[in-house]
């Protein structure tokens, strides 16, 4: 479904991605783990067309998307829940959801999609007229996921959805991600600092170090891998 070949992305002179290869098949949950500054967010932003790759190829559904503007990529079916959530804090929860539906034929199916989002996160229904910025961190993350789902994506990119969220809510969010994949049939590409949880959930995983993919395998294989246990699972690597 998504094939990334030898992608290189620069910020000015700084090279953040050094020839990254990643493949995500339709229906899978694929996770990417890596320490701070490895280039994980850069990869997602490159897929979404916010950052432009200077070399390599990104193919989605047999279509080369790497030179398309970001809004066209969303309209092709790739939605992103970015790092730090980035909800529109001055706008109401409802406005945030309606914005999410912009890609979905200009929001004509708003009422139908929003029901599915309420099923995932019932709390959002009670918060519709509240400003996004007044939600708690966990609620904001739910809104960010719900907002991305409003576009009815084929593929969902999630950037550290458990970052800074209470453990109880983290479970709820992981459950929602699983639901989205199994019931809504949305392919998932998940970036996580919580490597254990992510690898347990994922069909396959990749490890990104300094802009290079150093390891790949099924979730179970990676969970058992010694290097990964040392670096990402037993208190090493990221806090």
């Amino acid at each position: 479904m998504l094939t990334i070949t030898n992608i290189e992305t620069f910020y000015g002179n700084i090279q953040a991605l050094r020839g990254v290869n990643v493949k995500v098949n339709s229906g899978e949950i694929v996770t990417l783990i890596g320490s701070n500054g490895a280039g994980k967010s850069t990869l997602l932003m490159t897929i979404s067309g916010v950052n432009k790759a200077s070399a390599g190829e990104i193919i989605f559904d047999n279509k080369n998307i790497q030179n398309l503007p970001a809004h066209d990529i969303v309209n092709l079916g790739i939605s992103q829940v970015p790092e730090g959530r980035r909800i529109f804090s001055r706008l109401t929860v409802e406005d945030n959801l309606r914005l999410g539906a912009s890609a979905n034929q200009k929001g004509v199916h708003y009422n139908k999609e929003v029901k599915d989002v309420y099923d995932l996160f019932p709390i959002l229904k009670d918060r519709l007229n509240q400003r996004g910025g007044t939600l708690s961190g966990g609620e904001q993350q739910m809104l960010a996921i719900g907002r991305a789902m409003m576009a009815k994506p084929k593929m969902l990119l999630l950037d550290e959805p458990s970052l800074g969220i209470a453990p109880k809510l983290v479970n709820q969010i992981f459950l929602a991600i699983k639901n989205i994949n199994r019931e809504k049939k949305v392919t998932i590409f998940l970036i996580e600092q919580n490597a254990k949880k992510a690898l347990e959930l994922a069909d396959r995983g990749y490890v990104l170090v300094n802009g290079n993919i150093t390891l790949e395998g099924t979730g179970q294989e990676l969970l058992k891998n010694q290097d990964i246990q040392a670096a990402y699972l037993e208190g090493g690597g990221k806090k």
Partner: protein, 305 residues
């Protein structure tokens, strides 16, 4: 006599304030969405005034009924001027969007000079006059010795302003376009990640701002009857002051600020001295900014990170 005189100033102030308010909306919307002050906006207003003037002169040669002439002129001015606003954005600001913050400001100053010189070259430097298009009006309080007059033109100006402001307020608060604009104001990257074409949203903002300024230009030429290529400078600065006074980025603020600047200018001329009327508005601005740094209706941020 005193009350009558006061009422007259009030009527004149509200009329002038309508014109400033219409221009101020353009400043405030552009600032809201791309965080720059469009110094060429006053000159867009001036272009609008010229388009309206030319349109009136051409229609005067025909025998079309007055209401139709007014409507057509309004539409022609809005459409032509919107094209200018759109072009200015495409040529002078869009290529600089990723550049350092001062670059589009300098470019805007350049565009302002270009527009002035273009109109000066195309239309000549001398003032242009327009015969009154709408004549007559109401008079009150003759018995007090000071007759208060409310011309039909003033009624027209205020009504059209209220009507347009209502329409555009609805557009911005109730439609998908308005929602996209408010989203762009906050986070353009995220707005693009919603599948919204950010460049187009910005272009539409310039189109709306320019067409409102053109209506102000049409009102201006009808009200004063004389214009030249330089009117955009002072009117632009005052409308900008109005936008800051109301709280830059806030549309109701721009309307309120416009009204206040119009009233201040007229009352200053009427009660203190006509000589320094242009300074009055700026003095008030300085005082207000000392006590309300974000203007009267500026938005306090409630960001939670």
């Amino acid at each position: 006599m005193d009350l009558a005189y006061f009422l007259q100033q009030l009527i004149n102030g509200v009329t002038l304030g309508s014109v400033y308010g219409l221009i101020a909306i353009g400043y405030t919307m552009v600032y809201g969405i791309i965080g720059m002050i469009n110094f060429a906006h006053g000159d867009i207003f001036m272009v609008g005034a010229f388009v309206a003037l030319i349109s009136f002169i051409l229609f005067a040669l025909t025998s079309i009924a007055l209401p139709v002439v007014l409507l057509l002129t309004l539409l022609i001015a809005m459409v032509f001027t919107a094209c200018y606003g759109w072009t200015v954005e495409k040529l002078a600001y869009k290529p600089l969007r990723k550049s350092f913050r001062l670059a589009p400001l300098i470019s805007a100053l350049g565009m302002s000079i270009v527009l002035q010189n273009y109109v000066q070259a195309a239309q000549g430097a001398r003032i242009k006059t327009l015969q009154p298009v709408i004549q007559g009006g109401f008079t009150f309080m003759e018995e007090t010795g000071f007759t208060v007059s409310l011309s039909y033109l003033q009624v027209f100006i205020v009504l059209v302003t209220i009507f347009l402001m209502a329409i555009f307020t609805l557009l911005i608060t109730r439609t998908a376009l308005g929602r996209a604009q408010r989203a762009c104001e906050q986070d353009r990257t995220m707005t693009a990640l919603m599948g919204i074409n950010v460049d187009r949203t910005i272009s539409i903002t310039f189109i709306i701002g320019s067409s409102l300024a053109s209506v102000a230009g049409m009102m201006f030429v009808m009200y004063y009857g004389v214009i030249d290529f330089y009117i955009g400078f002072l009117a632009g600065i005052k409308a900008f002051t109005a936008a800051v006074l109301g709280g830059i980025g806030s549309i109701p603020g721009a309307m309120l600020g416009g009204l206040l600047i119009g009233l201040i200018e007229v009352f200053w001329s009427g009660y203190i001295s006509i000589e320094y009327k242009d300074i009055a508005a700026f003095t008030v601005l300085v005082v207000v900014l000392i006590f309300f740094p974000t203007g009267f209706l500026g938005k306090p941020d409630i960001e939670k990170v």
